[in-house]
């Protein structure tokens, strides 16, 4: 009998499949699959006030990957709590809300408002490459990462997961810093900063010039970083970056992740989260794994 349960910072997920922030919309994704199948739904980044995001084009396809420069368009935390959260309440899955901001105060304002909601966890995005201030600047420096983690830890009544950027020299330094500052978990990796030029038009494809690279093209980088961070910290890790199949999920678990997020795969195949979960179960059946712990320890 296969057991897919996993405990992330005191929250019991019924399986390790979560949705990567920014690639999941309850109403739109829910038209393609049953959200109850997810271990957790991680929602799109939400800020203290509504953000318009970047002008278009925001999307560019690359070989085996894609660039995005959405710029964290979102309706703001009040609209989110009033109009989007109630819909999510009906599902038998954990709800993790991704939080963004330009200053520590902005992050804290959102976290405070979420304290009084039913959500299970907060994922703090300190790694978005597409906004000028805040975002990535918190995640690219140990001191800054530590400071924001401490502040949010102080006011949050929910477990906090810090989402890290791969655009750093040593990911383990940042991971250790957020762990020491009180993070309950870590998500990695966010997108890699990239760029595409239209050689006929002689200009960048994205309005924002640069954007975040995701998809299978970045999977080896993500697996490597999960592997390194697993050996540097003891808090739970949600691994992501190009998970397209059940075997990809297994790869992240073997590298040391406790759960995985499905992002770009859901754009390529809207039903990807449930398909990947099914493939993970098939892999476990075929290879004699009864629980996720056995996969995580397989390489030790």
């Amino acid at each position: 009998m296969i057991n897919l349960n996993v405990n992330i910072a005191g929250v019991l997920l019924k399986n390790p499949i979560t949705t990567a922030s920014g690639t999941f919309s309850a109403k739109d994704s829910g038209a393609f699959y049953d959200i109850n199948e997810l271990g957790a739904a991680i929602t799109k980044g939400v800020s203290n006030v509504p953000w318009d995001g970047n002008p278009t084009p925001r999307i560019a396809e690359t070989y085996g990957g894609m660039l995005n420069a959405i710029g964290l368009q979102n309706p703001g935390v009040d609209n989110f709590i009033n109009n989007e959260l109630p819909f999510l309440k009906q599902f038998d899955t954990k709800i993790i809300v991704n939080v963004v901001g330009k200053t520590i105060n902005e992050y804290c304002e959102v976290v405070e408002k979420l304290n009084d909601t039913f959500i299970d966890m907060i994922e703090v995005n300190i790694s978005c490459p597409n906004i000028k201030e805040g975002g990535i600047s918190f995640g690219a420096n140990s001191a800054m990462a530590s400071e924001i983690t401490k502040e949010i830890r102080r006011i949050s009544r929910k477990p906090i997961i810090m989402k890290l950027t791969p655009n750093v020299t040593d990911i383990t330094e940042i991971a250790k810093a957020v762990e020491a500052a009180g993070a309950d978990g870590i998500s990695l990796i966010n997108t890699l900063l990239g760029m595409k030029i239209d050689v006929h038009q002689k200009k960048p494809v994205l309005w924002n010039v640069m954007g975040g690279l995701s998809g299978p093209a970045i999977k080896p980088v993500a697996v490597r970083m999960v592997y390194q961070v697993r050996r540097a910290v003891s808090i739970p890790i949600i691994g992501l970056g190009g998970v397209m199949t059940g075997e990809d999920a297994v790869e992240f678990l073997m590298a040391g992740a406790d759960a995985v997020s499905i992002g770009t795969a859901a754009l390529v195949d809207p039903t990807a989260p449930v398909r990947i979960k099914k493939e993970l179960i098939e892999f476990m059946n075929q290879n004699g794994y009864e629980n996720l712990q056995q996969i995580r320890e397989a390489m030790l």
Partner: protein, 275 residues
Amino acid sequence: MKKEVFKAEIAENKPIADKIYQMVIKAPQITDNYWPGQFINVYLDDKSMLLPRPVSISSVSEDTVTLIYKVVGKGTEEMASKGPGELVRLSTNLGNGFRLEDVFNEIKGTSSVVALVGGGMGIAPLVGLARLLAKEKKVRGLNDEDLKIVAFVGFQDEPVLLETLEDSCNRVYFSTESGAKGFKGNVIQLIKKTGIKVDYYIACGPKPMLKTLAQICKNTSIPLQVSLEERMGCGYGACVGCVSKTKEKETSKFKMKKVCADGPVFFGSEVVWDD
């Protein structure tokens, strides 16, 4: 509504002009719920190309759906390489189509003219729209004196689908930019030249064309619906990659709406064209 991605059999896939193809697919899942102006995602076999290609539904018959597409890159090249009997992966219907109720509310049905305006591949969804308009006209007991459906369509060099459109329109006017056939010029120049008094415009085509038409409609208080095109990621509302700035009618507040899930059809008056 429940949506899905599925494999369907191609019944026909042939060029109808230079680089322009017509693909007919057996897909009752799509025809059952079709409304003109909707699109579908075509998912490619070559896994190096991750993102689906959103293609507007041109028309449907009993159990087949017709796509008209232009080969512009590797993704559409792959689509063009497929033959009858081969399978193609598709999504079910995406997006919201043209709002017919609004058309009939506005025109009141007395010597009215509804004009369909298409630029380039923008002609594709107008075929299904023209058919539904013609059908609705009959259902509502309107004759040609009450309501005329005309089309203005513009092309680079070579017109396509003119006869198909003529089947459901009272008159089809066309132009080519090169002057190779028909009136020489773009579709806006064509509209001006014919000088027909129009009571309602419905348009699909390049943004500059839609923007100019929206300006004309604003100045003359003629209602307009447009189908917008934007580079998409998922095509179903999850990634927020394709947006258009719009103004809420009631509150005058600005909003970044998703072209795929909130559109692709918008009222010309709600789109903020200058940004």
